[in-house]
Amino acid sequence: MGIKEKLHQLKLKYQGKKMAPAFNALHTFLYTPNETTHSGGHVRAADDLKRTMNTVIMALIPCLLFGIFNAGYQHYSAINGFPADFSVMEHFITWDNFWLGAITVLPLVIVSYGVGLIIEFIFAVIKGHEVEEGYLVTGMLVPLIVPIDTPLWMLAVAVAFGVIIGKEVFGGTGMNILNPALTIRAFLFFAYPTWMSGDKVWVHGAKEGLTKAGSTDAISGETILGYLAQGNTSDFTYSLSDMFFGFIPGSVGETSTFLILLGGLFLVFSKIASWRIMLSAVLGALAMGLIFNGIVEFGWIPEYSKFYGLMQFDFWKHLIVGGLAFGIVYMATDPVTGSQTNRGKWIYGFLIGFLSVMIRVFNPGYPEGVFLAILLMNVFAPTIDHYVIRGNVRRRMKRLKNATILPKISDGKAKELKVETV
């Protein structure tokens, strides 16, 4: 007798008991339940919620692996200096990097999943509904968007807050207004700002005052945006390809624009995420970047202004630094919290990109704004949809009014036509 039958027998035994939802969750996670329809005229598709979530996780795995190697690479490079002739195989994909990354990143993943799933199970048992798969993606996103040295208890508190206040109080998966992963990130940012911003949190060990090899200088790992926000204009230690491929400091899994791009294409072609949101968000970010570049070009802002450094940053480079790409591909496209209508998706995405770059430049405390922009637009998404639908209704009403409708001969008198909406 295989595991499947055993689980099925156990399931029958637990039916109607209080713990049934918790058990069923495990069962459906491992196997297709026996109760699925096998015959008859039903639409059957493989892409249920569980598969959708797993597809997104598959798209996130490269970012996670890259984050693990990058954690080690940034740590050792900060201590020993960046290698002069950088080669990926020699300096990046090494056991040392992997080992250090694994022992710092994997605990984040475990805490994120552990706390989140425990809360999901508790709520499912209390409310007597089935455990929803919504947390599978959130649990993977969270470790990728926090700084590497985030204390685990902080992460646990934030996950509990995000899952309960961000999702469960609204009724669980599919009912939440705000993206839970971003709620968790925002909570961490407002609750523990010293752990979430500055130049000491992006490289493992920097916060504890680790020093460079052979000197007493403390290591620091400023992000490119942080460096620009200080009013500096150029002379990065990082080249363009570093930025694009992600060999830069930043939150765990958001640095590699290249892998995010691949993940995004995978999600678009598997029809999980909306290409409209991604494309319009990129356009929005470019538009805002161009406006800022224009302001600098026309000399409307003096060089000593504290916004000068970020404003003169080439508009297209905004896409390859910071969390913008990650946010656009994996967070803005969340089907629950985003706009549902096609026209709405264009507006929603465009504003996310536009506001992200704006907040990034004008935020005095922390030169990044993607999570704030997406959370704000999450709140506005239903309003956007509402006006898109009303506009559609109005257009069709107008068309109906102008149309000449010939009465059917059989009716004698034409019935009064009603507009079918939505």
Binding site: W153, I165, F190, A191, Y192
Partner: protein
């Protein structure tokens, strides 16, 4: 021996729980968000509102038959403004530091919806003794929530209660701070009060299902 008849007792007890001005009627939220970052400020605010609403309700109730209904709002404003100015002056004289923390929010008791609400809904139609009990009850209901919110926000946000450190010293790293605990900066900012009030409402409604409106 019952000090109050059952009906009178309900005037005080109802607003404490099942008809709480903040969690059920959702009135007076602005001050609940603004001044609850410290427990001390919450307590003083609660006492001020008890004073203003208790006396104000009696005054309005005594005047209820002589106030022309067309100008009753103006009369109510004058009564509440007078009382608030008294509170404000007393605070400035005896607790200057605290009155600075509370800043405009003492003055804004005038616009607190709970006060005008009780004047309109209760004091204009009931005798002075009942109006007094109702005023005290509603102000207590308001104060209880303020103090609960203030307690959690100060404890989690600053690690103190009434300004006294209870979790250890965050700079010298003693007590809880020695094992890596840190104050939660989110609790200091007003949106946190909204969430704490929301959680209180949640707890209250899950204990008493009768409070849940039909969808």
């Amino acid at each position: 021996m019952a000090l109050l008849s059952k009906k009178d007792a309900n005037l005080i007890l109802d607003p404490l729980a099942d008809n709480n001005p903040i969690t059920i009627q959702v009135l007076g939220i602005c001050s609940a968000l603004a001044i609850t970052a410290e427990l001390k400020a919450s307590v003083v605010m609660a006492i001020s509102v008890i004073f203003v609403l208790g006396i104000g309700n009696v005054v309005i109730s005594l005047l209820r038959n002589v106030i022309p209904s067309k100008i009753r709002i103006i009369v109510q404003l004058i009564v509440v403004a007078t009382l608030v100015i008294i509170v404000d002056q007393v605070l400035k004289a005896f607790a200057y530091e605290l009155s600075k923390t509370l800043s405009v929010f003492v003055g804004l008791i005038i616009t607190n919806c709970i006060i005008m609400g009780r004047f309109e809904a209760f004091a204009l139609g009931n005798g002075p003794w009942k109006a007094f009990l109702d005023g005290i009850g509603n102000a207590l209901g308001y104060g209880v929530i303020l103090i609960i919110v203030g307690f959690f926000r100060e404890l989690l946000g600053s690690g103190t209660l009434f300004g006294i450190p209870v979790l250890g010293d965050p700079i010298a790293k003693t007590g809880l701070y020695a094992i890596g605990y840190e104050n939660n900066g989110f609790m200091i900012i007003p949106p946190a009060a909204l969430i704490v009030v929301g959680i209180i409402i949640w707890v209250q409604r899950s204990r008493n299902k009768a409070l849940i409106e039909e969808a």
